[in-house]
Symmetry: C2
């Protein structure tokens, strides 16, 4: 099964809305795992092993691997292979460049790495996004509203039509979605922003970061989606899952943590 859309749909149909963010930081993993030969890969293996039954998707943040040089990129590749083939993989690369360059990035992420989906930065406009959208069986998540404080700097500037810049990006992504392969990243730290914009999400696949270490509420997100009658979303959790326990009990604690998230989700269904 190679189709990103089918993977996404199957996950959400089964109430699997948690995207496990594999933003692995060697300094934060349990000591007993640090002793392995390749501790980051070993850690990712444990995380995948103990969450795969409950996860809706896995997101791998390129920064955490790239910062380790070539060896890191090998760990990224190897980790990707450990993810069951029926679960959506997201290459969190936030790419965006002029057309001929974006084409190289699209090749890299979709052909070489074989990710199901990617995150993209919209600043440079459609030229920079199009080479990714040319892959109809993949999902390209465009940053709309991010979960960091300084989203205020530009994303929330008000345009001459009275809308926020990020809302204009949302409008444009809706326009680009002719092949049902567009997604958006929409920060969920402030639930009012989700409530204010969800009616414009339409068929877009949505990735919501901000729950856990960043303070967003899973309950509120699930409730808001329920009320809107929509279901195409994945809620990213990275640090609150990966660093839930630093002892040898890490695997079982991890398993418990993601199951608790799923219980919250199921309680609304």
């Amino acid at each position: 099964m190679n189709n990103a859309q089918i993977k996404f749909e199957n996950a959400v149909k089964n109430n699997k809305h948690i995207c496990v963010g594999l933003d692995t930081d060697i300094n934060k993993i349990p000591d007993y795992i640090k002793k392995y030969n390749n501790p980051i890969l070993e850690f990712n293996k444990i995380v995948i092993e103990h969450t795969k039954e409950f996860a809706g998707s896995y997101k791998l943040n390129f920064a955490f691997y790239e910062s380790l040089g070539n060896q890191g990129m090998k760990i990224l590749e190897d980790s990707l292979k450990l993810i069951p083939s029926n679960i959506l993989t997201i290459g969190d690369a936030k790419r965006g460049d002029i057309g001929n360059t974006s084409q190289m990035y699209a090749k890299s992420i979709y052909d070489s790495f074989n990710f199901d989906s990617v995150t993209l930065n919209p600043y440079m406009g459609i030229d920079s996004v199009e080479p990714f959208l040319d892959y109809h069986n993949k999902i390209s998540f465009v940053l709309v509203l991010t979960s960091n404080k300084s989203a205020n700097d530009f994303e929330k500037l008000i345009l001459d039509n009275g809308k926020y810049l990020y809302q204009n990006v949302l409008d444009k992504v809706n326009n680009w979605n002719n092949n049902n392969n567009c997604g958006i990243v929409f920060g969920a730290t402030n639930i009012d922003e989700l409530k204010m914009n969800i009616s414009n999400f339409n068929n877009l696949y949505v990735l919501l970061p901000g729950v856990g270490a960043q303070g967003g509420s899973l309950e509120e997100i699930v409730k808001t989606y329920k009320e809107a009658g929509l279901n195409r979303y994945q809620v990213n959790v990275s640090r609150a899952l990966l660093y839930c326990d630093s002892s040898n009990n890490f695997p079982s604690k991890l398993n418990e943590t993601i199951r608790n998230y799923n219980k919250i989700i199921e309680s609304f269904s």
Copy 2:
């Protein structure tokens, strides 16, 4: 000499304003170089060898190397080592992510790769730029106005204060420049935009793409800078230099091409 600012100043003081963009595409290099064991590295070596006396800086676009997997990143590293240590190197990565992630990217580009400077995407705001600005001896070039057509999509949206979004980004970067380590990327395909904004460039280091394959005029840029009494700029040329000749005469043609660019620059001094 490890200070990016000194390298930049030395270059422009000597009328060296051409930034050679090493966006190497295996399909476009001369046939005789394709026969080498590691043709991309060999090509980059020839380019550096025959331009280093005349180049103000070298820009390596990550996409072109990343798309070749681990091997590509090795070529990127090896190419970087071939650049004389007194010439500014620019990691054209267009990065931008939340704080803890941007920190990983900054480490990667500034510590692991040891680039003198980087290109950054501003969409997510200061959080995403700050970890790079914490390196005071480097130069971080923030995208302001890009040279592609769809810069219209978002960069040229008009805000409620009547300014373009990109002009607001320019204002912000000026505010961030407390340590004289901020730069901007400002597309030079339309000279009127340069003329309209150059009075707000102040002390910022400026990288201008768009000359050559994209149609911008080197003469017009140099003239505009001269009239404004400013000198802190590098004009990126990639395709028009790299693919100036496909025969065995490539090295001498390359040398001739960059020298001709410098003659244009010198004619205004």
